[in-house]
């Protein structure tokens, strides 16, 4: 009965112990980093957040004049609306394309085409955001001026299209996983009852995978909210309550990126930028949390 006996610690090979410790360390450090970053951001902003900042004004005033000599005003409403409007526009474009592509890849395409398609999607995901910003600044700018006869093409529409192109790969890959996770027996059952492939998609797969698809959309949106470089370059970067797709806007992220280099460390303005960081952190955290809960929902259902 020797084989059944529990191995004593001495019997576990040394290499295994090393590997295990290493893996554990990696896991722990990931958690430490996240908390560390949050702590740092919070510490930099906390002083002004709890002493002096008018939070009501911060969230509801459109007046962002952090460098005014006589009357500094830190209202982020225009920036918040800028972030949300450009994200919403991006999602209006990315969701139909992303989900459509995911359905195509997982249900309608031949295995060979699927591989090609996945490589293209991965390539799309690998393009650095500054390159997207550059495309927005040059190509898309010209295009918008030409098509809409606009005075300038650096607009919410421009940024929205760039963000959409960046979120599509995320949406496609997560949505495709969600569709793949639907057991094949459901497809077979529906087909054996005479359903066409389209009927299988909208009567069986979409309802069965709806949580995963929703999670895909949310994570795509979180990516858009957090994106900085491309929107900084493509949206005109001008504080403005957005009035339509052709208005120029400025986002929370772009504001931090553009101004942090200019401010004195520890100054009010510096601290406000970190408070915007906390705000962004909170928004993406909430979106990611919802996505996670939604994904958990799927696991419990099936």
């Amino acid at each position: 009965m020797n084989i059944l006996r529990k191995k004593s610690a001495a019997n576990v090979p040394f290499s295994e112990t090393v590997i295990e410790t290493f893996i554990r360390l990696c896991g722990v450090s990931a958690i430490v980093f996240v908390f560390g970053i949050f702590f740092f951001v919070f510490r930099e902003g906390a002083g002004f957040l709890f002493g002096g900042l008018d939070l009501g004004q911060f969230l509801t005033s459109p007046e962002w004049y952090p460098t005014s000599l006589s009357n500094k005003r830190y209202g982020t409403l225009a920036l918040i609306l800028g972030t949300f409007s450009v994200t919403a526009l991006a999602m209006c474009i990315a969701v139909p394309f992303g989900l459509g592509a995911a359905i195509f890849v997982s249900e309608f395409c031949s295995p060979k085409l699927r591989e090609t398609f996945k490589i293209i999607i991965e390539l799309l995901a690998a393009i650095p955001s500054v390159v997207w910003g550059f495309i927005g600044l040059t190509l898309m700018n010209q295009l918008i001026i030409a098509v809409f006869n606009a005075p300038i093409g650096l607009t919410m529409l421009n940024g929205g299209i760039m963000l959409a192109l960046m979120s599509v790969p995320i949406i496609v890959s997560i949505a495709e996983d969600a569709l793949k996770a639907v057991p094949d027996s459901y497809r077979e059952a529906a087909e054996a009852l005479g359903a066409t492939r389209w009927q299988v998609v909208y009567r069986v797969l979409l309802p069965a995978a709806k949580n995963g698809l929703l999670a895909a959309v949310l994570l795509g949106a979180a990516r858009s909210i957090g994106e900085t470089m491309a929107v900084l370059m493509a949206t005109g970067h001008s504080v403005n309550i957005p009035s339509g797709p052709l208005s120029w806007i400025r986002t929370l992220t772009a504001t931090i990126a553009a101004e942090l280099g200019e401010v004195a460390r520890g100054a009010e303005h510096y601290q406000v930028l970190f408070i915007i960081g906390i705000l962004l952190f909170t928004i993406t955290f909430v979106v990611n949390l919802i996505a996670d809960l939604v994904i958990k929902g799927i696991r419990q259902d099936s």
């Binding site: 295995p111 027996s185 459901y186 497809r187 077979e188 059952a189 529906a190 087909e191 054996a192 009852l193 005479g194 359903a195 066409t196 009927q199 009567r203 069986v204 309802p207 069965a208 259902d301 099936s302």
Partner: protein
């Protein structure tokens, strides 16, 4: 006698593995026919030819002729949805869809009729009739909104039979429908088949020799992709003509 299903020299390959070899068979109308044989001999494969669900796998090649209700199902003018409407299938593992009991029953009708053409009163009645025919109405009438995948296995399998009925199929193919059920569930499904036979032609794969004897008028024995013997059930069991049939029946049935 009329035949619902007729095949001539039907051969089928998965890639280059031949799973069916020159199967020629005639399944009589309105009766229960059983299909027996050791695992891996091609029973499921043969059954899946009759509603062409085999084609879901990319690597399948079929040769020979299959006529269902007098029509060659490989004719170019055959519509797959119509074929599958006429030839219902019950799978080995109960596979209700992850929607409500009510919607499971109506699924077939909904995909075969124009949007919103079924009124609420009609659909209520259809669901009640279908569930009543499989003796589930009493159990499930208060659970119509429940997700079908959360029912007991036996109820799921009966539901899978019930959802075929609103489509008024001519033929019902069953692939070991009782393998996930206990003795009581098995008897219930058999009783159901006996009541429904006449209206429907049944072809049932089973590993249970007693079941084949109880329910079927004719019985087919397959071995390694070939049809070995097809006769009246009683005769096949009591006086098998073929040695392999005799061995198999002996072994499985004592």
């Amino acid at each position: 006698m009329n035949h619902s299903i007729e095949t001539e020299n039907l051969s089928l390959w998965y890639g280059d593995f031949q799973a069916l070899i020159d199967v020629s068979v005639k399944i009589p109308d309105g009766q229960i026919t059983s299909l027996i044989g050791p695992s891996g001999c091609g029973k499921t494969t043969l059954l899946r030819c009759f509603n062409r669900v085999n084609e879901r796998y990319g690597n399948v090649t079929t040769e020979g002729k299959i006529e269902i209700l007098g029509k060659n199902i490989y004719d170019p003018d055959v519509s797959l949805p119509e074929l599958r409407k006429a030839v219902g299938m019950v799978f080995q593992r109960p596979n209700p869809l992850p929607i409500s009991v009510y919607e499971n029953i109506l699924f077939g009708l909904r995909i075969h009729s124009p949007m919103r053409s079924i009124t609420r009163t009609e659909s209520d009645q259809i669901v009640e009739e279908a569930l009543t025919s499989v003796f589930l109405w009493e159990d499930l009438k208060d659970k119509l909104k429940v997700r079908a995948t959360s029912l007991q296995l036996e109820q799921q399998q009966k539901l899978c039979i019930a959802r075929l009925l609103p489509l008024k199929p001519k033929i019902i193919l069953m692939d070991e429908p009782c393998s996930a059920l206990d003795a009581k569930g098995t008897l219930a499904v058999e009783e159901l088949m006996e009541i429904l036979a006449g209206t429907y032609t049944f072809l049932i794969v089973t590993h249970n020799m007693a079941q084949a004897r109880r329910v079927s008028e004719e019985c087919i024995f397959m071995f390694l992709g070939e049809l070995i013997e097809h006769r009246e059930t009683q005769a096949l069991f009591e006086d098998p003509k073929h040695e392999k049939t005799a061995d198999y029946v002996q072994m499985r049935y004592g």
